[in-house]
């Protein structure tokens, strides 16, 4: 799903390495305890018409038999319907079984298939073997591991979670294994403060950004709203009217009150938040400025009806030295809800999943969702977004629908560009032209509706802002009155308490005086007693004024308290009266929603018109190519390249896409046989020291929990290797493909890799050395490394490489294996 980031993670290597070196068993145990628990609680995914086909296949429901008839996945059918209807000329043939097996293994479980798997799949004659394979892979712990690594790179933008890496990956893997609604996961990442053990891993998202409002603003804009608002920190985008400084600061206002809180030295960091703190900004270009910026999603909904608490009511826990602030109303928490309910969220997420499986988003770059960069297939993006939204944000169903589509399973062999390819184009052009005319005709009405809705919303928000401005100066007097009233009430209570005490003392004295006088009267000869009685009586008489003073004080404090309370009531009334002018929250929300919806409807129509235009141009270019072939072959060749690129963008043919660093590392480990060794070691470790959570897991969850442990154990064990690859290769989705000489040097000379090609142990080379027949050996190499049988030329090449090398056959075999590992065919998903 790639970070789609401009920066692509040179930090990833060492940091990942460090993360992997640390021992975090308690944390792993912790999250796996959650797996075991949530396993019981997992509910079947919310059924919806669109995901009825896949719901039965999720892990929670192993008993229900999925419908695996060809094309049974309604999402797959819908994807193909759109893509094939909109295709310009022919689409590519389906890829062969070997290519499909490799592709789907890389995408779903992050590595090439083992040689025996390739053999078995190619030999399998079942009609539905592709569907069965997909379901098996999606349910496997390897899928959870792969998605955890993808999400890790995407969400942390390859910054690495440091000491929290194992717990963080475990959290993500668990979410994937349970197919947790992904909107909940995302809301958790942003809303949590990390204060409870269950939320510790999720808060990593904020902690790696040091809870810095600016960094969070940029990341959340890019990752979840599909917009890079970076330049809008200082000014409106010079070339893009839809990227405004107000958007940046509106989003920032949600984070402005949050900050990193470091408790005692040995305690983990948390997120603290204050109850106040507003955003203001000035444009460096126009010097326009704004204060008290209202929290608002970029070009989206505003946070309305924020409470205006008085001092004392504003915090659950007020911030102080060493005390973390927890406000009664958290703006960040409000964002976490609003974000996942936004129109952008499902589109951006769907686009990222698509990019993970096709190497390029329907909107590209992934954080370039803006009006001047429409999706290549607007209807398809809408379909995928609706699938997520209506299907409870279960990623597994979305992935299943996509990989079962014909569109995903196309060959990467170049499409023909000949007369047959052009045959249907004239009628296609007529149809598109008609669609274009109709769509353009509908646009003015949509634009008018957009403007009307925007005007309505603006009027309401202006009224609200005016009322807020009127309220604002009244808040401080109210706060002061509240503080004064609270203080006066406290004083009055003290005075009352004092009077009660004094009254009791007075009564006690007076009783003592009466009784002492009675005793003295009964014992008239006892002078001492008489004296004492006189003293007590005198004391009782002396006490009376003290009592009066206390009574007077109470009366005075009570009067003051009543006055202060009255003043507070007046201050509150003033606020309330001023606030009456604020439009009701429900009206604001409604108007805001309508304005956003009307804008999106217009935008959608514009996107469609733009894309119809693009396809018309392509269709005409293809016809022109036919004409140029005869007159200007050079121009025809240049045009053919551009036509191929556009047909690839329209997913009519599969794109060659470089393996991600994780896919590359795992594929090398799989090919050389080290993964099998690592897996055995991880399993042995589980046998030797079965973690408590594994022992505690219910019988029907044992296998799943164990599988996750094994996968994450491998990631931790191979952290050094994974880190080295990630450091060198970066993130190919981040921008464009790069091949560096450092990568090639590593591949050629890294001792770690050379070690994997030694004939020792039970690795690939050791296995091959035992084979006497060069043809069998060639086939084994190609199955193990390139996931396909060798052809005659391959076998001839291998035979030539081994000829005359009887003396150092192991070295010669290692050379052959290296050549396949270093080949372009291995480097790319094809």
């Amino acid at each position: 799903m790639g970070s789609g980031d401009l920066r692509d993670g040179r930090h990833a290597g060492p940091r990942r390495g460090r993360g992997g070196c640390m021992t975090a068993r308690p944390l792993v145990a912790l999250f796996l305890a959650t797996v075991a628990l949530s396993g019981r609680a997992t509910e079947p995914p919310a059924a919806s018409p669109s995901d009825a086909g896949h719901a039965a296949t999720t892990a929670g429901n192993p008993a229900a038999a999925p419908d695996r008839s060809p094309g049974a996945d309604p999402l797959a059918l819908a994807i193909d319907a759109i893509v094939e209807r909109e295709a310009v000329g022919p689409v590519a043939e389906p890829c062969n079984d070997a290519a499909f097996l490799r592709r789907v293994h890389l995408d779903l479980v992050g590595t090439i298939p083992a040689a025996e798997r390739v053999r078995a799949f190619l030999a399998d004659t079942a009609a539905l073997k592709r569907v069965e394979l997909v379901d098996e892979l999606l349910a496997s712990p390897g899928h959870a591991r792969q998605m955890a690594l993808v999400l890790d790179a995407m969400l942390l933008e390859r910054k690495g979670a440091g000491a929290e890496a194992a717990a963080w990956r475990g959290y993500l893997a668990t979410a994937v294994a349970d197919d947790r609604p992904f909107d909940q996961v995302c809301a958790e990442l942003i809303g949590t403060d990390g204060a409870t053990p269950a939320t510790r891993p999720a808060v990593t998202f904020q902690l790696v950004r040091e809870v810095d409002p600016l960094r969070l603003t940029r990341s959340v804009g890019r990752l979840f709203l599909g917009r890079d608002l970076e330049c809008c920190q200082c000014h409106d985008h010079p070339d893009n009217a839809d990227l405004r400084q107000a958007d940046y600061h509106g989003l920032r206002a949600f984070f402005q009150r949050s900050s990193l809180f470091n408790p005692a030295a040995d305690q983990p960091a948390l997120v603290g938040e204050t109850a106040d703190g507003e955003v203001e900004y000035t444009s460096v270009f126009t010097k326009e400025s704004a204060k008290g910026v209202r929290p608002r999603l970029p070009a989206g909904l505003a946070l309305v009806g924020e409470p205006l608490p008085e001092p004392g009511d504003d915090y659950v826990s007020a911030p102080a030295k060493g005390v973390r602030g927890v406000p009664a109303h958290s703006r960040r928490e409000a964002l976490s809800r609003m974000l996942v309910e936004s129109a952008e969220f499902p589109r951006v997420l769907a686009n990222r999943v698509w990019a993970m499986l096709f190497g390029r988003g329907l909107v590209h770059p992934l954080d370039g969702h803006d009006p001047d960069n429409p999706p290549v297939h607007p209807d398809l993006l809408e379909l995928l977004a609706a699938h997520l939204r209506d299907g409870g944000y279960r990623l597994r169903g979305l992935v299943r629908g996509i990989v079962l589509s014909r569109t995903y399973q196309r060959s990467s062999a170049p499409l023909p560009l000949d007369d047959a390819a052009r045959a249907a184009l004239p009628s296609f052009i007529d149809r598109l032209a008609a669609e274009q005319t109709a769509a353009e005709g509908a646009l003015p009405a949509l634009a008018a509706a957009r403007d009307a809705a925007a005007t309505r919303a603006q009027a309401l928000f202006a009224a609200d802002a005016a009322a807020r401005d009127a309220v604002a100066p009244l808040l401080e007097p109210r706060a002061k009155a509240r503080v004064a009233a609270d203080a006066a009430s406290a004083l009055a209570k003290n005075a009352a308490d004092e009077l009660t005490k004094k009254t009791a003392q007075g009564e006690s004295l007076s009783q003592a005086a009466t009784q002492a006088a009675a005793a003295a009267a009964l014992l008239p000869d006892d002078k001492v007693l008489g004296g004492a009685a006189a003293i007590i009586t005198a004391r009782a008489a002396e006490f009376a004024p003290t009592l009066e003073v206390a009574r007077g004080a109470l009366a005075a404090r009570t009067t003051e308290a009543e006055a202060a309370t009255a003043a507070l009531a007046a201050a509150r009334r003033a606020v309330e009266e001023a606030a009456v002018a604020r439009p009701p929250v429900v009206d604001l929300t409604q108007a805001d929603r309508e304005a956003v919806a009307a804008r999106l409807a217009w935008q959608g129509a514009r996107d469609r018109i733009a894309r119809i235009g693009m396809r018309l141009v392509l269709a005409r270019d293809m016809i022109r190519h036919g004409e140029l072939m005869a007159t200007d072959p050079a121009a025809a060749a240049a045009l053919a390249g551009s036509i191929d690129e556009r047909r690839m963008a329209l997913v009519q043919v599969a794109r060659l896409r470089p393996l991600s660093p994780e896919q590359l590392a795992f594929s090398i480990l799989t090919a050389t046989g080290r993964l099998a060794t690592a897996r055995a070691a991880a399993a042995a470790q589980l046998d030797k020291e079965p973690p408590a959570a594994l022992q505690a897991a219910l019988p029907d969850r044992q296998a799943a929990v164990r599988g996750l442990y094994e996968e994450l154990g491998i990631v931790q064990q191979q952290a050094g290797f994974l880190g080295a690859v990630a450091g060198l290769y970066g993130d190919p989705l981040a921008g464009d493909f790069q091949a560096s000489v450092n990568q090639a040097l590593w591949l050629g000379n890294a001792p770690d890799l050379a070690g994997q090609l030694q004939p020792g142990g039970d690795g690939l080379v050791a296995r091959l050395v035992a084979l006497a027949d060069d043809g069998v050996l060639a086939d084994d190499v190609f199955l193990a490394v390139l996931s396909r049988p060798s052809d005659a030329t391959d076998r001839a090449d291998v035979a030539a490489a081994l000829a005359g090398r009887a003396d150092d056959r192991a070295a010669a075999i290692a050379e052959v294996v290296w050549a396949t590992l270093a080949s372009a065919e291995f480097r790319f998903n094809h």
């Binding site: 789609g4 980031d5 401009l6 920066r7 692509d8 040179r10 930090h11 060492p14 810095d212 600016l214 960094r215 940029r218 890079d228 970076e230 920190q233 200082c234 460096v284 590209h364 770059p365 990467s412 062999a413 170049p414 060659l656 470089p658 290769y729 970066g730 981040a734 921008g735 464009d736 493909f737 790069q738 091949a739 560096s740 000489v741 450092n742 990568q743 090639a744 040097l745 590593w746 591949l747 050629g748 000379n749 890294a750 001792p751 050379a754 030329t793 391959d794 090449d797 490489a801 050379e815 052959v816 290296w818 050549a819 396949t820 270093a822 080949s823 372009a824 065919e825 480097r827 094809h830």
Partner: protein
């Protein structure tokens, strides 16, 4: 692949010895089979411009180096000495460098810097105020990006390390431009063939790989597959050029001239790399963080620095390389004019100095001025952003331009700043 959208116009001088062109030509010839240059070759390049950055890690004292204030309360015990440029004086701790001053220039008005090591270093490396929400590449990556040609077999961004220094961040420019580290001037990682693999065996397996690639790309050729197969050829070329990384191949005489210290060896290594056309070389000299006994430490540190640095400048000048090479000597910040109780100086970003010289720079110029006791800049305050622009302009890169990366334009340098134009030749 990204490219500069403006034309940095690194104009090359055909009459001058062009090692990069020479090596590049050899590499292209050797690459043979991969005749077509990858489409990612759209870098603006082909010049022989280079940047040498000496980073005095920890923060050198401007008062003991480029902006002495003898006889003042802040000035410390050292004298100022005249240099080869009449009117410019530097600290007496830099006698050799003083004699090369006519090749160099000074900025004595560095202001607005950080007092924090990490932040100051990021700012000086990246030319952007920190913390920046956008992760930005280091100068070395930008220079490599602007100057590298695809047929150049050596890395474009090399960091010669003692201790300290950044990772050579290439950020969004991608792994091709990330810093290659030569720990203690040893060759970069993975330039030793694994035990048992001869050059002949390496070529043999490469030939088999090339045959496999020919068949695969015959069906599915793309710019990406071209770039990938090309990088393998580059790696083999680099192994053939591995001698470039062996400083021991420099004459004994030069080892003596540069001194047998670690920094001397590193400077000699830098000369070797620059001679072979590497566009960006950083040498790190550590550690100038002199909170205690500032003066003793500077005698020692600058004593190490002065002779090799001066020898390097002199050699670059004599060999004609200085006309193509920008020389920078900088730190993350300067040191407090106030001398503390431990005879130390603390972190200071308010009024300090750096050195720039060589290609594209007005030699013998001094930019800006501090007041009598060095506590404030009184003329032409500049910071890391201006320096970043200036260095790029000095090698002919339009620093106000943008790189086109991942579908968008990203400004090369901080758009709120610009070059110190009067410092440019």
């Amino acid at each position: 692949m990204s490219r500069a959208t403006t034309s940095p116009a690194c104009g090359s001088d055909a009459h001058r010895l062009s090692r990069r062109g020479l090596l590049g030509g050899m590499a292209a010839a050797a690459a043979g089979a991969v005749a077509a240059r990858p489409a990612l070759a759209r870098v603006v390049a082909g010049s022989n411009k280079r940047v040498l950055q000496i980073f005095l890690h920890g923060g050198v004292s401007q008062l003991e180096s480029w902006d002495p204030k003898p006889g003042t309360a802040t000035g410390g015990p050292f004298r100022a000495i005249p240099t080869s440029v009449p009117g410019i004086h530097v600290s007496e701790l830099l006698p050799c460098t003083a004699r090369q001053m006519h090749h160099l220039g000074l900025i004595r008005s560095m202001a607005g810097g950080s007092d924090d090591h990490a932040r100051g270093q990021r700012e000086m490396f990246s030319g952007r105020n920190q913390p920046a929400p956008l992760d930005v590449p280091d100068l070395g990556a930008v220079v490599a990006k602007a100057c590298l040609t695809d047929d150049f077999p050596l890395p474009g961004h090399v960091l010669i390390r003692g201790a300290g220094g950044g990772p050579g961040n290439a950020s969004y420019l991608g792994p091709r431009y990330a810093g290659v580290i030569m720990e203690d001037a040893k060759p970069p990682a993975f330039t030793d063939r694994p035990a048992g693999l001869t050059a002949e065996a390496d070529r043999r397996r490469a030939a088999l790989r090339a045959r496999l690639d020919d068949r695969f790309t015959g069906r599915r050729r793309s710019a990406d597959t071209d770039a990938y197969t090309f990088s393998h050829g580059q790696a083999l070329e680099l192994l053939d050029q591995r001698r470039v990384f062996d400083v021991d191949l420099e004459p004994e005489r030069d080892h003596d001239r540069y001194g047998r210290s670690e920094f001397g060896r590193h400077c000699l290594m830098a000369r070797r790399l620059l001679e072979h056309g590497v566009p960006f070389v950083q040498v790190n000299h550590s550690n100038y963080d002199t909170h205690f006994e500032n003066f003793d430490f500077h005698i020692e540190q600058l004593g190490e620095f002065d002779r090799p640095f001066a020898a390097l400048v002199e050699d670059l000048a004599v060999r004609g390389l200085l006309d193509d090479t920008v020389v920078c000597v900088m730190s993350e910040f300067g040191r407090t004019p106030r001398i503390n109780a431990g005879y130390g100086r603390d972190h200071w970003g308010k009024s300090w100095s750096i050195l720039l010289g060589g290609a594209g720079i007005q030699r013998g110029a001094v930019i800006g001025r501090t007041n009598a006791d060095g506590t404030e800049v009184v003329d032409r305050p500049v910071d890391h952003g201006h320096v970043f622009h200036t260095v790029l302009r000095a090698i002919g890169v339009d620093s106000a331009g943008s790189f086109h990366v991942g579908g968008r334009d990203v400004t090369i340098a901080d758009p709120a700043k610009g070059p110190i134009t009067e410092f440019l030749a």
